[in-house]
Structures are given as C-alpha cells and as structure tokens.
Symmetry: C2
Subunit: 347 residues, 2 copies
DNA sequence: CCCGCTTATGTGAGCGTTAACAATGTGTGT
DNA sequence: ACACACATTGTTAACGCTCACATAAGCGGG
C-alpha cells in the first residue's frame, strides 16, 4: 500500500501537474514577465488544484528577505500606543509585510535590548521601536544590530529616524487657548519627567506662557494614571484653589482624576476652573463635563513610521529623518471664562 | 585586495574559528548532550567573537517549524483586546515563540479569512483568533487551514478550542448585587446583539432576575461606545426615570455615557439610580462616582490561550477544550439602596 | 590484549526555493 | 535561406541549517 504523503505540496508537485519545470512555477508565483499566458493559466490551475502554498522559509533563505518587520512597543494596553500599534500593523500589511511584536511591560535599556535581540533571532528586516522614555532612547544607541530602526516618540534621538507627535505644539495650543479665554495663568500637571512626551508638553506650556510674559506657576507631576491626576488635583485644592483658574493636564486619564477630585471638592468645571487634557481618548467627550483636549493622530504616526522604515529598507541610506505629526485642539465644555474671584490673583 | 565579506557569519565560519565541524556548532546551539565542556566553551567563544546569529529561515526550512504564532485580533485599541493581546504576546515570548499579529478594523467572514490566509503565507504554526462576534466565529468553520486554532471570546464555537471570560457569571453577579441592595428590578443596556460577550451578559442578567422571579424590563442596546450609553440613558430618562432604580450597563465605556446623561438630567448616582458596569477599565475608579463594575482577567485569557495552543501543537490531538475565566465584582460608589419613590414602582 | 559499548565528533544529503545560465523555439531583416 | 535578436522554458547550483549515519576515541571485562 502506498503511504499517503502527509507533506504539503511543493513547487515540484505543482510543476509535475502543470507539466512544466519548477522554475516556471516560481516565475508565475513571482509575476515574472516572459511566461506564456496559457502556461501561466496551467500553473495557476495546478496551484489551486493542489492547494499549494509557497514555503516562506525556503524563500527567505535564498532571498535573504523575511518580509517581517519587528515592533517593540510599550504600554500597549493604553489608548495611544495601542492605536499606534494597530496603525503600524495595518500599514505594514498593506505593504505586504508581516509584523512581529514584542510588548514590553517595563521599559529599560535592558528590556529594550532583550526585545531587539529576541526579534533579531527571527529574521526581521527592520525595527520600529516605540520609545517614549529618555532612557529607552539612549539605550537605542548601543543596540546589537545594524538593521534599520525607526523610533516612535523618541524626541530628539540623534542619528535616528524618528516619528513623533508635535507635543510642544499641541501643549502650546492648549495653553494659548486658556490664556485667550482670559485666564491670567495656566497650571500644568505633567507626566513623568523621563517621558519625552511629558517633557514636550511641558516645553510647549512654558513657551505659550512665555509669549505672554507669564511666569509659569509650580509644575505638578503625575504618572499618567487617573490616580495621579486625582492626587495632583488634591494638592491644588489644598494649597488654595482660589489661585487656580485654569489647568492644562498632561493627558486625558489624569484629567479624569482631576475632574473626580474637583467634583469631590465641589469645584465646578468650567465654572470655577477650566481644564484642558491631551490625547482625545474616545471617553473624553463623555467626561463630566466633556473635556476640551488635544487630539493626536496616532494613525498618522503608525503610517509614517512604516513609510520611513520601508524607505530605509529600499534605500539603505542612513539619512536620519525627523517627522513630526501635528495635533489639533478639540474644544468641548471644560473651558470657560475665568471666575471673577480668580481674576484677582494678586491679592 | 581581498573583498571584505559583507555577509553575516554562518555556522561554517564559527566552526572554522572554533576548530570543529559545523555539526558540533549546531549541537552546541541546540543544547545537545555529548559535547565536551571545553569544546562547548570554544564554540561559544567563537560565536561571540564573530557575533554569529543563527539563520532562522534555514532552521525553519529543515525543521518545518517556524516558531511563529499568528494572532488575529480585533478592536485592538480598546482596553480589553489590547490587554489580551499584550498578555498573549508575553506568554508566547516566554515559551520562545514569536507573535505575528493582524489587527482587524472590521470583523467579517471575509476579513477573518483574509487575515488567516495572510498569516498562512508566513509559516505560522498556529493561530489565536479573537473572535467576539458570532459571524466571525461562524466563519472560522470554513477556514483554509489545518493548523491548530484557539478562539478567544468565541462563546460556544463547536469543535473549536475556546477561551472565554465567564460573561454570564459576571453579569449575574452584578445583577444579583443590585437586587440584594434592595432594588426590585434591574435594567440592562446591552452591547450589540451579534457580539457574544453582549449576549453572555444579557443571559446572565436574565438568569439573575429569573432567580427572583422578576420579569426583565425592556432591553436597551448600545454599541459599546460612550455615545451609545449616553443615548440609551436619554431614552431611559424620557420614558420615565421614576421607574428605574438600578441599571446594569454592558461595559464601562457605555456606563460613562450613562453617567454623563444622568448628570445632565440632574439624576444622582447612586442616590437616585444605581449603576454597575463591566470590564473594570483603569478609568472606572475615577468616574463620578467611582463605578462599581465587573473585573475581567484579560491577562489570564491571554495566558490560557497560549497554553492551550501550545498543548495543541505538542499533542496534535484535536480535542477541543473550552476554558472559562472567572470574573470578579468590584464594588465602588455607584450602587446604593433604592430611593423610596423607586420602591413604589407599581403606581 | 582484544571485544563490545559508550561518548564525542565528522561527513554527506536534503529541506524548497530563487538566481544564473543554458537551451530551445520563433520571427525578422537581408 | 541565414544570422541574429528575443521570448520562453529547463538545468544546475547555491542559500544555511539539521538529520541520519559513519567514524574515532576511551574504557572496563574476559
């Protein structure tokens, strides 16, 4: 009795059925010119008859191209990174590339290094590293690889190709908006100091204040979580909320915590205090009150990252580009004109 | 002048430097026994000297194992799927597997089919499909692959290995909690009808009401978004909120919309109406008021999925298992005892 | 002191594909 | 009718690894 072959069909099988050589099958598969239409049809038919699928390992072995892009991401259960990641994958797939992902829980030179090394074991052709912290960016310099890398949210990583959102611009727009509504100054609850996004927003906030000759009030720090926003707002309340008429919060999650703290302290937004967030998470429009915030185009970040990475792959030129994605202020109901008492700050 | 070899080193290069055969290098790399310690050390040294990295394509070609797992995900910018995905990747990496991801924007038999076919081009060894909608689960039956598949949130997919959260149990617990607080009935704002998670929660809600002999009030439907929760709550308000003392909302995002609508209508939570959500997103604790909700262990879902998939891979047995991950009620401040007027429902 | 047994290493083939080159047919200008 | 270009197909040799097998070396018992 003949042993039934469990093995999936290979090119030679297709070639036999179609009555051609395996090389012709290869040509059909790769869309080479100079294959007669009827030959092509016969091969095509044989492929479907056998349910043939090309062996990607063999192909990768000989072409030295795996068609896989590695993505090292962080905080992927947060809205921003998750959206960026999805967009990266989408753009990569459209370009015919696979995405192999490593999702980091903590981001240190150590973990970034390990992630890149891990992906290096698989034959990725290039990397996208979402490196929102300074330490992560620094660790990029000494990576054990010569593969092209695009850094997302990597701020001013010298010598690297970087895609980032115009944090400073968005923050300045938010701050200016509050100033233009008549607030004499704007407080800021920032994200963690080692986060480049946090620093960019702080810088934008400072810039907008400086434009008006306003000395920035003391900076408050959170860790992006609603909890930390809540605590920062408590501090504000305790040190005298009368002094505060407008707050620019580093992200929407912290803004939610702020809202909660103000609600508990019977401080009305925007009647008593105006608030602007950052991110424009889907929930922001349904906070109480709906939050004025800064929209980030995460989708564009993902698309541009892939685009730059593919450019690098094609050109093999090491020209490090810096791409900045603009933001947009989304006005809702958390900003109002300053309360009379708040106008007399200098009392 | 000798042309410098740009090619990365291969096993033969390592072998030459270490003074052994390529096969011995292979043995060291794969941790085979019967290699003398000093030989092993020499090979190890040569590997490091040359910065050798094994060519995974060549290895995959001959072993017929790529070490890559495919994940088809949906709604990856939402908290639940994003958390599950991260957990899947983590568990896979710990087991030494790579994760290739496809993130779907719309989930139809068509897109699921395409995603699986796409991943099939890469030589994935198995799939995890996050298929939260009935139509997606149905489309799984006729997939063009014989590879092992684990379905996440696939409800009662017959013949498939499924990991899902105990939606009905969680919903019943939420409903019972409201009933035990003294509410005579509980309204429900459900997710979309074709979502298995939504249906599971509806079923649990009905069960808990039936236990007390309570006829379920009319079911309201949303689409998981805060917007839809807002509109459902508006309906409730317009048709007479006096009839309503407790609402179980299909997820936290919709609950936020409900909160917003109630806030606008000057309906206090939990004073006038009690509310329970589902998911326990990080923001839920900072809603106004902090939301009582049902916690889902997304991390466990991811871990169990990988575990089952690896079992399948090892056993090649087609024994379809169904794993259910328990939930937990998280009590915060959105539930209270019923208002006196609400007790006289039959008025 | 040789036999068999174990341990340590080397040799050769083959995985399924693409690239380079060879070989065949097909038509065109002279 | 002949040479030459060109379109179409086939043949052969890598790619870098693991597997199966062959071989050499070490070691205790008769």
């Amino acid at each position: 009795m003949v042993q039934a072959e469990a093995r999936p069909p290979v090119m030679a099988d297709v070639a036999r059925v179609a009555g051609v050589s395996h090389q012709t099958v290869s040509r059909v598969l790769n869309g080479h010119p100079n294959v007669r239409p009827d030959t092509q049809a016969r091969v095509q038919a044989a492929i479907e008859e056998l349910g043939y699928q090309r062996n990607s390992s063999a192909r990768a072995l000989v072409t030295r191209r795996s068609g896989v892009l590695g993505v090292v991401a962080f905080g992927t259960n947060l809205y921003g990174p998750a959206s960026t990641l999805a967009s990266i994958e989408h753009a990569a797939r459209e370009a015919g590339y696979f995405v192999s992902m490593v999702s980091l829980r903590t981001i240190t030179p150590q973990t970034v290094h390990e992630a890149v090394e891990f992906l290096g074991q698989q034959a990725v052709e290039g990397f996208i590293v979402i490196a929102p912290q300074r330490s992560a960016v620094d660790s990029l310099a000494q990576l054990p690889t010569s593969l092209p890398i695009v850094v997302v949210e990597g701020g001013d990583a010298p010598g690297h190709t970087v895609v980032c959102v115009d944090q400073a611009g968005g923050a300045a727009a938010a701050t200016r908006h509050l100033l233009e509504m008549g607030h004499t100054t704007v407080w800021h609850i920032a994200g963690p100091a080692d986060w480049l996004e946090a620093e960019g927003r702080v810088a934008g906030w400072r810039t907008a204040l400086a434009e008006r000759g306003v000395t920035p009030p003391p900076l408050l720090r959170g860790d992006w979580s609603p909890r930390s926003g809540y605590h920062a707002a408590r501090q504000l309340v305790e040190r005298g909320i009368d002094q505060v008429s407008a707050v620019f919060v580093g992200n929407d999650q912290m803004a939610l915590g702020v809202l909660r703290a103000f609600d508990e302290a019977k401080i009305d937004v925007p009647e008593d205090v105006s608030l602007v967030g950052f991110d424009d998470v889907p929930e922001a429009a349904y906070f109480s009150p709906p939050l004025t915030t800064v929209w980030q185009d995460f989708s564009a970040v993902g698309r541009r990252s892939i685009q730059l990475l593919l450019d690098h792959l094609a050109a093999s030129e090491p020209n490090a580009q810096q791409v900045t994605v603009p933001t947009q202020l989304v006005q809702r109901s958390s900003v109002g004109v300053p309360h009379p008492r708040a106008a007399t700050t200098n009392g």
